[in-house]
């Protein structure tokens, strides 16, 4: 247990009743999130991200294990936790027939602010999110990006030290997503710890200080994006070989410059130390064996490669 951990879980489990017997949505999650970090929870749909988030936000009791948020146990002292967290669900939180200002004011008042303080805080948030012009319009008239920004604003009214965001950019266009990333980075400057879930690799990569990759309710890797990518040293070379995959993998695995070879969705994947030197070797080898590649792609390892290596599946495919 690190001294400055603001979120800490041990052996967290949550089982749901399913049609074919119990389903373990969260299957033993141990997490530690340092105060002030943007922490990403990356995984495909159904991996257990939202369930974990809901346990941490006091919405769902765990079947087993413990979780501590901002110094309090979520099961034993949920009221203390609620005072110190903001939570923005995927469903949003703002009501389409209420105005942005109304939503911010009532949220402040539910956290105990006086009418005057809640109004002042609403003005401040509307201003920082550039929603002042839309403040007195009903939320139903907002664009997708505006509505998401407002929802985050609602979660921030009481200046919580911890903010939970469930898929904050899902369904947003690239411009609105970039804008949202900026808002989330601004939160870090205020010292807020942000815990977000995402199934976008780019988002986890661009935004998060640390991340945990979750699959089937278990954490399969944890670290900073660059640490995780460094685990896969060297480069990744993918080759299309028109159905001769097995043979090519066998051939390449025997080469000294290849660290690892595998087949993924019909493509041969090679992990090599120096990609630019490996390419001519590979081409010559294929040629001398009477094989012609249809495609070839060389790239630095991405988080998808990390996911693939840990789970044997590509996140891009599972997320689609």
């Amino acid at each position: 247990m690190s001294a400055e951990a603001i979120i800490e879980t041990a052996g967290l489990r949550r089982t749901f009743k399913g049609k074919g017997g119990p389903v373990e949505a969260v299957a033993g999650v141990d997490l530690s999130v340092a105060a002030g970090d943007i922490f990403g929870f990356l995984g495909p749909n159904g991996a257990g991200k939202t369930t974990t988030l809901r346990i941490l936000a006091t919405l769902l009791p765990p079947t087993a294990g413990t979780a501590c948020v901002a110094g309090f146990d979520v099961g034993r002292e949920p009221q203390q936790v609620r005072k110190r967290i903001g939570y923005v669900a995927q469903a949003g939180g703002s009501y389409r027939e209420a105005t942005g200002r109304e939503e911010l004011v009532i949220q402040g008042r539910l956290f105990g602010l006086s009418k005057a303080d809640a109004s002042a805080r609403a003005v401040e948030i509307l201003d920082s999110l550039e929603l002042t012009d839309a403040a007195d319009r009903t939320c139903g008239t907002y664009s997708g990006g505006m509505r998401r920004r407002l929802n985050i604003g609602i979660g921030m009214v009481h200046r919580p030290p911890v903010l939970f965001l469930d898929e904050p950019t899902t369904g947003l266009d690239p411009q609105a997503r970039a804008r949202m990333w900026d808002e989330i980075r601004k939160l870090r400057e205020t010292g807020t710890t942000v815990f977000l879930t995402t199934h976008y690799l780019e988002e986890a990569d661009a935004l998060c200080d640390r991340l945990a990759i979750i699959d089937h309710g278990k954490i399969v890797a944890e670290g900073s994006p660059s640490d995780l990518k460094r685990e896969i040293s060297g480069d990744v070379l993918t080759i299309g070989v028109n159905g001769h995959g097995e043979r090519v993998v066998e051939l390449m695995a025997a080469q000294p410059f290849v660290r690892e070879a595998g087949l993924e969705a019909g493509l041969v994947r090679l992990y090599v130390d120096k990609g630019e030197e490996a390419v001519p070797h590979v081409l010559r080898l294929l040629d001398s064996n009477g094989l012609a590649p249809s495609t070839m792609d060389l790239h630095r390892p991405s988080l998808d490669d990390v996911f693939l290596k840990k789970t044997g599946r590509s996140l891009r495919e599972t997320a689609a």
Partner: protein
């Protein structure tokens, strides 16, 4: 106190939102007005039949229509909650430290306020048809209507929290409300019914509510149904409120 403060906040918010888009409020009043206009006149002749309770036709009919308005009006308040749940409003509020009872009570008091406004309109509209106005009795009758609202709206909210969407909620609410309505003697007095139907009706709290309301509207203040009906409604309202508040605290799970 936290609960009172939060209740006021939720009451004000939900009343503002209801009045901003009053489609439900208007739809809730159209049906009873139609009964008043198109069914009420039938009763003037039936009222002379043996077995019809004492009092003018409209003094028997209007209390029944008011109970029907309360039953259906409060029965369907869960629809609005389904809508709020879909937009994440309920979840957002459950994550605040606010009082769980206030989430329910604030909404139920809004429902009761709208119900009483509808009831007032109906009573005023009934006067030209021949409703004999006993102000004291009508005032106490409105208090009983409020109790019916406080008893029924938590049931609707609880069902909404469990079922989560309007498509599942509508048949369940109808399945509960229609038998309650038929066995309450709203349309025609139960005194016209065969013995077994009367026996069955006595297990329906709304039957007693209707009987009490009729006694009040006829200024028969000594009728024992008044105290019995009121006591029954208070007890049931406390039970449904307690269960409803509990469903809100589990709303998210």
């Amino acid at each position: 106190m936290r609960t009172i403060r939060d209740t006021r906040l939720i009451f004000e918010r939900s009343l503002t939102l209801s009045l901003r888009n009053p489609v439900w409020v208007i739809m809730g009043i159209i049906q009873p007005i139609l009964y008043l206009l198109l069914f009420g006149p039938l009763l003037t002749n039936i009222a002379r039949m043996p077995g019809f309770p004492p009092g003018g036709a409209f003094n028997v009919f209007v209390p029944g229509i008011l109970v029907m308005t309360a039953l259906f009006g409060s029965g369907f308040v869960g629809f609005g909650l389904c809508d709020e749940m879909r937009e994440g409003v309920v979840e957002r509020m459950v994550v605040t430290p606010m009082s769980r009872m206030a989430m329910l009570l604030g909404r139920s008091l809004r429902d009761v306020s709208l119900l009483l406004a509808q009831a007032l309109l109906l009573v005023v509209l009934s006067i030209p048809f021949g409703l004999e106005l006993n102000v004291g009795g009508v005032a106490v009758g409105f208090a009983m209507l409020a109790l019916i609202g406080l008893m029924m709206s938590p049931v609707s909210y609880t069902l909404a929290l469990v079922l989560k969407n309007e498509e599942s909620l509508a048949p369940v609410v109808n399945g509960v409300a229609v038998p309650l309505l038929l066995l309450s003697g709203v349309m025609l007095p139960m005194s016209l019914a065969p013995e077994w139907l009367q026996t069955l009706a006595r297990f329906n709290p709304l039957y007693h509510a209707v009987a009490a309301m009729r006694a009040l509207f006829n200024a028969s203040y000594g009728d024992s149904e008044i105290v019995f009906g009121a006591a029954l409604l208070v007890i049931l309202a406390v039970v449904t409120m307690t269960l409803g508040a509990r469903s809100f605290s589990r709303a998210a799970a």
